[in-house]
């Protein structure tokens, strides 16, 4: 069985962001980078499936500069067999349609039985790439899955809807699934697996070989939102902060009445 999982490297969302000189994205300097949270669930599901079916080959794909190889190594250490690194130093200027086209171009002649992606990235959050890859490849797809069962080419998933409701959906491989938080518990790579991962194939392909479509949108501007509401910000010693807050709660709410 051939499986593909697509991941993205994103900054830690607790970082202090700055707008870059172009004014169209965040500045990459001084950020801590990690695997997109949603993709960790995708990698874990792909690895679990590989363990379940035995005879399989699991590729992890990531687009970006050389820096993204660090994140790919984590996926390899979690259990992916090989890495396909699409080398693109300008990845942040590509829009979802282009990103999906690059992945589809890579995947189209490789007959993957299943493709997993995260449901969205934490930085752009468009939620389009996975589904668009499936559309490019003509595959059925289900987004936002929180449960996955595979048996003999038949797939049963649960899609998360609003208010805790789930929709149960059946489909057949080949197919693409986008993964939501809570789908599974992503494993931590063990030291022996980190060592093994170093020997795994990690091939870089220049993005120019795969990008065949024009951008359909572009970023006009990125900026910080205006602080609405004008809430009070309290800083200082915890002891004082607690007294201040209790005073405010007494004045503004009825909770101590």
């Amino acid at each position: 069985m051939k499986i593909l999982v697509c991941i993205k490297q994103v900054p830690d969302m607790e970082s202090k962001f700055k707008v870059d000189d172009s004014g169209t994205w965040y500045d990459r300097a001084d950020l801590a980078w990690r695997m997109n949270e949603y993709d960790e669930y995708a990698v874990e599901q792909a690895v679990q499936l590989k363990e379940q079916v035995g005879d399989s080959d699991l590729t992890v794909l990531c687009i970006g500069g050389d820096q993204v190889k660090e994140t790919m190594k984590k996926a390899l250490a979690m259990g992916c067999d090989r890495g396909a690194h699409i080398l693109d130093d300008e990845v942040s200027t590509k829009e979802p349609y282009q990103i999906a086209s690059i992945i589809a171009e890579y995947a189209q002649d490789k007959s993957f039985d299943l493709i997993f992606t995260g449901m969205q990235s934490q930085d752009r959050g468009s939620g389009q790439v996975g589904i668009l890859v499936a559309e490019f490849l003509g595959l059925p797809s289900v987004s936002t899955i929180v449960d996955f069962v595979y048996e003999d080419g038949k797939i049963d998933v649960k899609r998360e809807l609003e208010g805790g409701v789930k929709a149960c959906v059946g489909l057949s491989a080949p197919a693409l699934l986008t993964c939501q938080l809570g789908l599974n518990t992503p494993r931590y790579p063990t030291l022996p697996n980190i060592m093994k991962a170093k020997k795994k194939e990690l091939l870089s392909i220049p993005v120019e070989d795969l990008l065949k479509v024009e951008a359909r949108q572009e970023t006009a501007r990125v900026y910080f939102p205006e602080k609405k509401g004008g809430g009070l910000v309290l800083e200082g010693e915890v002891d004082q902060l607690a007294d201040q807050l209790i005073q405010i709660l007494k004045e503004k709410t009825g909770v101590f009445a």
């Binding site: 938080l181 970023t219 910080f224």
Partner: protein, 305 residues
């Protein structure tokens, strides 16, 4: 400008988001037409034209089929924009429709600036304006971002449509949320634990503050996904919607899906080490502190009042 607004229906119910689509359309100064896979018994109360496909014939959500229906209407009506709610229905269907139309898609629009859609990025820490380069566009709207002053009224002009296409996925049923246990909707004070609590042992600290304030404790999603707290305490889009007198968000960043569940609370206090955390946008008071130090001190002081 002409907009095709995609209303939603699920399990025998018309979902409320349709009026936000209309609000957006009015803001864009557009002429609009609705599309719904639903039932004649539950129609949006508006004067617009509405294309209706019968859900009893089409079944519950089926992406291939719904896409086909919408693309057919687009070919007939030639709208400039197809508008969805950014919901589990919208974010799943919008990219499929956009792809079929060769249109550009912008997800989770919160605002429009000089005709250009604005979306939140980086967990709402930044805003991004997106310039669309295709003639037709598909957008999804963040819940609550667009609203009307008054509830619309009227009866739409219905045109029935059908399709004989099969989908490649099969819907086999709904699984309802587990119920029972705590009813956060009844609590007048809720103290919620976010990922910032760091480890499961600290849930007790949050529960302790909730008890001291005579309320209940809740949690953000990662805390529930990690199984530190049971699901019926989750606040947000995929959890509960609450509106207590006081909501205390401890170690919660303020992602839109969490805010959606609690922003109607009367008074909101956030405790966060990050002064720029987006929760600051809705908080009446943001206490910049390490919750592990602050919460026990606060609890003790409240207990000795």
């Amino acid at each position: 400008m002409k907009l095709l607004l995609i209303a939603e229906y699920r399990d025998g119910q018309l979902l409320a988001g349709w009026s936000e689509l209309l609000a957006f359309s009015r803001e864009m100064g557009g002429e609009s037409v609705f599309f719904l896979v639903g039932s004649e018994e539950h129609l949006p109360t508006c004067d617009e034209k509405l294309y209706l496909a019968d859900s009893s014939a089409c079944g519950e959500y089926n992406p291939d089929l719904h896409k086909k229906l919408i693309v057919d209407i687009v070919n007939k009506e030639q709208p400039d924009m197809v508008v969805f709610s950014h919901s589990s229905y919208g974010w799943d269907l919008a990219p499929r429709v956009a792809f079929a139309l060769g249109a550009s898609q912008v997800s989770e629009v919160v605002d429009v600036s000089d005709g250009v859609p604005v979306i939140p990025v980086c967990n709402s820490k930044l805003r991004r304006e997106v310039k669309i380069k295709t003639d037709q566009a598909v957008v999804t709207l963040q819940a609550g971002a667009f609203g009307l002053q008054e509830e619309p009224s009227g009866t739409p002009t219905v045109e029935k449509i059908s399709v004989d296409a099969a989908g490649r996925t099969t819907f086999t049923g709904y699984e309802q949320a587990e119920s029972g246990g705590v009813d956060l909707a009844k609590a007048s004070v809720i103290v919620s634990a976010g990922r910032g609590i760091g480890k499961p042992e600290n849930v007790e600290m949050i529960a302790g503050l909730a008890r001291a304030l005579g309320g209940e404790y809740g949690a953000s999603r990662p805390v529930v996904d990690s199984e530190w707290v049971e699901h019926n305490r989750q606040v947000g889009t995929t959890g509960q919607t609450v509106a207590p007198k006081l909501y205390v968000a401890c170690g919660i960043s303020g992602a839109i899906q969490h805010l959606a569940g609690m922003k109607k609370s009367e008074f909101i206090v956030a405790v966060n080490t990050d002064k720029d955390a987006p929760v600051g946008e809705v908080a009446d008071v943001l206490v910049v502190a390490d919750l592990k130090q602050f919460v026990p001190v606060l609890t003790e002081k409240i207990e000795s009042l």
